[in-house]
Amino acid sequence: MLFAMSIDAYQILPEWAVLLLGHWLPWFELLIGVFLVAGIMLRYTALTATGLLLVFFALMTRAYLKGLTIDCGCFGLGEVISPASLARDGLLLGLSITLAVLVRRRTAHGRVLPASVASAT
C-alpha cells in the first residue's frame, strides 16, 4: 500500500489503477530484473526494461517540472524527486538503451539466436 501511495503522488492514474500497479508492478520489475541478470529472452527483456525506465523517467520529469514535491518511489521511501534522482534515473535509462541496442545488434548478426530459431530462419 505504501508503494501505491508513491504512485498516487504522481496524480495521473485513477484509484483502481494505482492499487493495481501498486500490487503488481514491484513483482513485474523483479521478474524483469531476474530475466536481465539470467539473460533470458534478453532482446525482449532489455526492450521492456527500457520502456519501463522511459515511462518512469518521463513521469518523474513531468512531476519535477510541475513543481510537485513528491516521493520518487524509486528505491524505497523518503526520496523526493530532485535533479539528483532525475540524473540517476536518466543514467539507468541510458544504460538500458545501450543494452537494448547492443543485444539487437548481436541478434541481428545471428550470434545469440538460439540454434532452433537460427535453423528455422
Partner: protein, 193 residues
C-alpha cells in the same frame, strides 16, 4: 534500523519531558500520525488542504487517529519560523486551526511580502490579534519551535512534509504527495487488523 532509531528518539525525548503539545484527537486512538510541516512549503500546503483536512474530519475527530503536529521550518524558507511562531501563539488562545488555515491558504502572498503577522491576524479579532502578536515574540514559543525541530532531526526528518504513522509496534513513513483516498485505504487496512 531507521524505524527503531526513530522510535528511540521519540521515546527518549518524551522521557526528557518534551511531550508533544500540538496534538489533535484522542491519545488512545489505535493509530498515531505525526506530521512534520513547514508553513512556507508548497508540499505542506497541498498535504494540509487536500489530505489532512478530510483526514481530521473522518479519522481524527472520530477517534481513529491521534495526530501530532510538529513545526519543522526549513532554513531555505525565510518566513517559515515566524509563521510557526504565529501558529503556536494562536494555539495558546485556541485559534490554531483558523491561523493554520489562513497561513496555508495565503502562503503564496505572505511568502512573497513577508507579512506573516498580518496574514495570521486577519482571521482574529483585534483583541486576539494583539495577544497573538505579543505571544509570537515570546522566547518560549520560539523554544517550542526549536524543540519540534530537534524532535524532527532526531527522527531523521530531512524534508517536509514528513508523515509518520505508528500502529502498534510498526511505523510507516508515508510517501510525500500521497493523496487522501489511498491514505484512507491504508488507514482502514491498519484499523481492520
Amino acid at each position: 534500523m531507521r524505524i527503531i532509531l526513530t522510535a528511540i528518539a521519540f521515546a527518549s525525548l518524551a522521557a526528557a519531558g518534551n511531550q508533544p503539545l500540538n496534538t489533535r484527537g484522542s491519545s488512545s486512538s489505535p493509530i498515531k500520525m505525526e506530521v512534520f510541516s513547514d508553513y512556507q512549503c508548497p508540499g505542506c500546503k497541498a498535504l494540509y488542504e487536500s489530505t489532512l483536512k478530510p483526514l481530521m474530519e473522518n479519522y481524527v475527530d472520530k477517534g481513529k487517529v491521534y495526530m501530532v503536529h510538529y513545526e519543522f521550518p526549513l532554513p531555505m524558507h525565510a518566513y517559515a519560523i515566524q509563521a510557526a511562531c504565529y501558529a503556536l501563539a494562536a494555539r495558546r488562545i485556541g485559534k490554531y486551526d483558523q491561523v493554520t488555515d489562513v497561513l496555508f491558504r495565503q502562503q503564496q502572498s505572505w511568502a512573497t511580502t513577508g507579512k506573516v503577522g498580518d496574514t495570521a491576524c486577519s482571521v482574529l479579532s483585534a483583541d486576539e490579534a494583539k495577544k497573538v502578536r505579543a505571544l509570537a515574540q515570546d522566547p518560549a514559543i520560539a523554544a517550542e519551535v526549536q524543540t519540534d525541530i530537534q524532535l524532527g532531526r532526531a527522527a531523521h526528518v530531512d524534508g517536509t512534509p514528513t508523515v509518520i504513522i505508528t500502529h502498534g509496534a510498526k511505523q510507516y513513513r508515508v510517501p510525500t504527495g500521497a493523496g487522501y483516498q489511498i491514505l484512507s485505504r491504508f488507514l482502514d487496512s491498519l484499523l481492520s487488523n
